[in-house]
Every structure is written in structure tokens, then in C-alpha cells.
């Protein structure tokens, strides 16, 4: 009886394997793999990232590719789960045999992929925020977004300028929030800012009035910093206004998307956060070197998707461009040469800032890349 069953099963497995193997393609494409969280809790970030990668791969191919070679993009959606990110990284390396990987929308996904790319020696450009990704430096791992540490520094710089020294922190229980919390605690110590409250909220919480009530009742607090991404910070902002807390409210760069303003509505007015020049493209000074790049990118993105550009879309753009620029300079896709070329990226003007990498710095951004912006009348305004 088992025989027919077995042959049926064998046929199924064979079919499955055939389908997984995918299709071979045109002559010598540059194989770019990507893992993004296009669905799940971080889709806020990953969905625009996916769109941008696909859009620009198409545009580049229509313009004749890179050094005459087309770009072949393979995108997988990890749904915000680190273990899925690891599994897809393996697939990109082993099965799709990509030349370079862009992605890891979240810090968790990135850190799950890191040991794999280090072992397989494949250049990897992460789109996630936490400082642990590039500190300590890992040979094959780079990243495009600003770090949480930089965000904390920028916020505290601004606090100092306003004469505020006592900060209440409320951070998300996600990887981004936890890392952000650690960096905030460390930076606060260095900069002489006193942390007077340290609350957390869940990434999917729909009500954080309980935690905010504690902060409201804390007489010492002079300003509040929220460290999180997605809808959580919007919920916090709404509850903050609901409770009538009058202290200055800071957010991290994890909400640098028009989505945040749209979700929080009027409650977002007056919120300050560090963000890349991209979100205030029109307000940048004409002589700003980023002006041209961000204006152009904003135009292309908004025409293609008729939705407003976010810094996350920009991170993906930067990642892809840095990778392809390195391919050009390395004169091919030899992985070791490609890695070296990425590390030698110098003066690349991207949406996140001006990137100059080195063997000690696999991100290549300075604090200047951040602009402090404030929400005014439903839009970002540069804080002068």
C-alpha cells in the first residue's frame, strides 16, 4: 500500500524542489538580493523599501543597466520575523546566489542575517537603525540609516539648546526601541542629561495612558522622548495630548514618515524629531549638497506611487545605489572586491546624508546628516 503513497509523495517533493529552484536568466546580470519586512509590524518601513528597490531596479535596467549589465533583483518578505529573515538570507546566498544583499528592515532581521553573510562572505547593506549593526565593525556588513545613538545625541543636543536637562523616556519593547533605550541611557550619561523616568510600551499597544500617567505625575521631567516606530509612537502622541501633558515631546527618527503625522493628526503638532534631509527636501538651502538628490528622489517616488516619500524609502535607495556604485568601481561582482569598494565609498550624496565609509566606519554618516524637524501645520518644518 505504501508504494503508491511514496511515489505520490516523491512526486510532490520533486515538484516543490523544481518550483523552488526558480528560473535561470539573462546573461550575467548583477544579482541583488533583498530581505524586507513588507508585511507585519514593520511594514510601515519595509513596504516603501520594497517599492523603491523594485522601482529603481527597473529604472536602471531601462537606462541600460550598470556597466552594461542588467540588475536582477530578488526580494523576499520576512513579515517582520527574524527567523524568516535568516531563512531567506540563506536562500539568497545558497539558492539565488546573489552578489550583494540589501536589507534587513529591522535590527532583529539584520542581526539574524549577519552571521550568515559573514560566514558566506557576501556584502550586506542593512536598512536598519541600531548601532550594534556596525559597532563593532563586521567585515561584510554595512548600513545606510542613521543610528539610534545619533538620534539620541541629536535630541539631547536640542534639549541642551533649549536649557532642558531632565528627560523622561518611553521606549517600545521592540528591538529598535530596546536598542534606542540603551543608547539613550548611555548618551544621557555622557551629556549630563538626567533620566527621570524610564517606561516601555508594547509595539502593538493601543493605549499607553497608564505609562504616560506615571510620567505626568513625575514632577521632575522637563521633556519626553519616545523611542519606537510604526503606529506605536502615534498612539503615544495621541494619548500624550489626551492627558494634557505640556512638556516638549521628542520622537526618534523611527517615525520620520508622513504616515506618522497623518496617524497622530493634530496631536503631532509641535513634536520634534531628528530626521534626514529627505523629509524636508523643499526647505533645504539651495546650496545644500543633498538638495538635488532628495528633490529628484522625492519627485520620482511620489510620481510612481502617488504617496509621500519617507526616510525609509530613502534608506533603500541609498543601499541600492551604494551597492551598484561599488559594482561600477570594482569593475564587476567579485564579492571581495565589491566589499572593498563599498568600504571605500567616499562622498556619496544620498537621501540620508553624505556617506564616507572607512574600515572603521561602515555607515559613514555624521551627526550633520540629521536635521531637527518639528511638526507644524501637518508638515515637517526645519528647526533653525
Amino acid at each position: 500500500m505504501r508504494n503508491r503513497l511514496l511515489s505520490t509523495m516523491a512526486a510532490m517533493v520533486g515538484l516543490a524542489l523544481g518550483a523552488m529552484a526558480g528560473t535561470a536568466s539573462a546573461a550575467d546580470p548583477i544579482k541583488v538580493g533583498a530581505i524586507v519586512s513588507a508585511t507585519g509590524p514593520a511594514s510601515f518601513l519595509g513596504d516603501p523599501e520594497k517599492k523603491v528597490l523594485e522601482l529603481y531596479a527597473d529604472r536602471i535596467n531601462q537606462a541600460g543597466g550598470v556597466a552594461g549589465r542588467p540588475v536582477q533583483l530578488t526580494v523576499y518578505d520576512d513579515g517582520g520575523a527574524a527567523d524568516k529573515a535568516a531563512s531567506f538570507t540563506k536562500r539568497l546566498i545558497e539558492s539565488d546566489k546573489v552578489d550583494v544583499i540589501v536589507g534587513g528592515t529591522t535590527t532583529a532581521a539584520t542581526m539574524a542575517a549577519v552571521p550568515l553573510v559573514e560566514r558566506a562572505e557576501v556584502p550586506f547593506i542593512s536598512l536598519a537603525g541600531a548601532v550594534v549593526i556596525v559597532e563593532p565593525v563586521k567585515k561584510w556588513v554595512f548600513k545606510t540609516p542613521h543610528t539610534d545613538r545619533m538620534a539620541a545625541e541629536k535630541v539631547m543636543e536640542d534639549m541642551k539648546a533649549r536649557g532642558l536637562t531632565k528627560l523622561a523616556l518611553i521606549s517600545e519593547d521592540s528591538g529598535f526601541g530596546k536598542s534606542g533605550r540603551e543608547q539613550t541611557v548611555a548618551v544621557a550619561k555622557e551629556r549630563g542629561i538626567e533620566l527621570v523616568a524610564d517606561e516601555t510600551y508594547g509595539a502593538k499597544d493601543t493605549d499607553v495612558t497608564a505609562q504616560l500617567t506615571k510620567i505626568r505625575n513625575n514632577a521632575a521631567a522637563q521633556a519626553v522622548l519616545v523611542f519606537g516606530l510604526g503606529q506605536g509612537p502615534a498612539v503615544v502622541t495621541k494619548n500624550y495630548r489626551q492627558l494634557g501633558i505640556a512638556l516638549p515631546l521628542y520622537q526618534s527618527h523611527g517615525v520620520a514618515s508622513k504616515e506618522f503625522i497623518r496617524l497622530a493628526g493634530g496631536a503631532a503638532e509641535g513634536v520634534r524629531l531628528p530626521a534626514a534631509g529627505l523629509v524636508v527636501a523643499a526647505q533645504l538651502a539651495a546650496e545644500d549638497p543633498q538638495k538635488k538628490v532628495v528633490t529628484e528622489f522625492t519627485k520620482v517616488y511620489e510620481e510612481a506611487f502617488s504617496s509621500e516619500v519617507s526616510t525609509f524609502a530613502g534608506h533603500a535607495y541609498d543601499g541600492l545605489m551604494i551597492a551598484l556604485d561599488a559594482v561600477r568601481r570594482a569593475g564587476g561582482t567579485d564579492k571581495a572586491k565589491l566589499r572593498d569598494a563599498i568600504e571605500q565609498t567616499k562622498g556619496y550624496v544620498g537621501t540620508g546624508g553624505i556617506v564616507t565609509m572607512s574600515p572603521k566606519d561602515h555607515m559613514g554618516l555624521t551627526l550633520d546628516a540629521f536635521h531637527m524637524v518639528e511638526v507644524k501645520q501637518g508638515d515637517w518644518a526645519l528647526v533653525k
Binding site: 499597544d205 505609562q211 500617567t213 489626551q242
Partner: protein, 291 residues
Amino acid sequence: MFAELLQYMLSGLTIGAIYALAGLGFSIIYNASHVINFAQGEFIMIGGMASATLTASGVPLPLAILIGCGGAMLVGVLVAKFAVERARNASTVTLIIITIGASIFLRGVAELVWGKDFKRLDAFSGETPIQLMGASMQPQSLWVVGCAAVLIVAIGLFFNRTLTGKAMLATSHNRLAAQLVGIDVKRVVLASFALSAALGAIGGAVVAPITFSYTEMGIMLGLKGFTAAVLGGLGHGPGAVAGGLIVGVAEALGAGYLSSAYKDAVAFVIILAVLLFMPNGLFGKRGTERV
């Protein structure tokens, strides 16, 4: 001190009211068909997403809620007709997996139709907080609690005063006997799905201004609704309502006085404790097993 407690209670009751509606949805379907419908959360999602996206494109709010509600009811009936009814004789676990399949399917469709981003729905009557003895609440909370209360009373009247309601109640007590006295049991099952879907969709619409709507909003709300239904005693309507409020308030108090990270755990510890001493929930009737 008191203001703090009051603040926590207000938050707890608001979210608890939604859990109560979801729990009630679980109970109604359970009564009619002995199915635990894990797609209950998706009804909430449909209500929230439909009302947010429709109002954004200019449809007046009441009409948007009505359309969302109708859509959810249609989906509910389809799930009942094409999935649950066909597998009537399957085991309990199989039925659970079918409804889980339905919920994954519905989330996928919703993602395609509405996209993955969060949708905002303006609060029904402004966002100026209402101050109450040192605590403050969003006016929308009143809408949530008010709507939930009205719906719960309406459901109660429906089951006790109308013929259809009584037929549904009879079916839950004894399916075979109900069939013998001429009740169309199949239609009762369909009606129960439609009713639960409507409850969920309205709940989703009123809570959307507080929680935002997105395709995965139903997962946690659905799970808490199941928790509420079990805590109150499966199939016991008022029990599900009480269960929902208890879970909501326990969470808010847990977040306020214990630790916000463990607030979800608080609800589940309570349930384990209750089940330890009352294996059929707070108000559940003691079941006897037929051999």
C-alpha cells in the same frame, strides 16, 4: 492616587468594551454551531478598515460603517456557508484550523484591497479630552463604551424577544430538538455568523479612531475576545461581556501598577487562576459528557 486609578479604569473599560463585543461574537457563533471562530478578529478588521478608507474617500461616516458592517456580514455568511457548514462533521480542532485558514485568507485579501499601511479614522466627535476628577479621556471612549452597551442590550433583546432570536437560543440548547420542532438549523448557523460579523465590524469602526486600522488589527483583538468568552464561560453572552471588561481593566491596572511589559500576562494569569477553580469559566454551565 484616585485620579490615577480612575485613569487606568477608564482606559481599561474602553478597550474592555471592544473585547466584550468580540467575546460576544465568539459566544454567539459557539452557541449556534459549537465552532470557535478564529476569524472573529478579522470581522473587526473589516469594520475598521472599511470605515476608515470609505470616509477618507468622502463617504459619510454612518454610511461607511453600514457598508463595512454589510461587507463583514456577507463575509461571515460566506465563511459559514462554504467552509464551516461543509465541514460540519469534522472534529473541533479541524474546525478551528478552518477558521484560522479563513482569517489568514481574509487578511491577505484585505492587504490587497486596502494596502498594508495604517489607516486613520477621525474621532466621531472631536479630540478635545474630557476631564473627569483628574483623569482625562478621549470623547471616542464614550462612543466605544456607548455603542458596545447599546449593542449588548440589543442582542439581549433579540435573543429573548424575537422569534429568530429564540430559535437561535433553542438551537444552542439542543440542536436536534430544535431541528425537530422545525427550526432551520443551517440558517441559524448562517445568522449567527452574520450577527457576530456585524458586532465585530461595528466594534472595529468605533475603536478605529483610537487604535488606527490596519490589516492585522484583528489578531490581538480576536485573541482577547476569545479570552473574554472563555473567562465568562463559553456560550454565555453576559459572561463574555463581563469577561471582556475584566480582561480590559486587568490589563490597564497591570500596566499602571505592575509593569507595562507584563500587562498581557496579567490577563492570562487571571484566566488560568479562574479555570483552576472554575473549569467552565465564571458563568459557564457545568457540562456533562455524553458517552
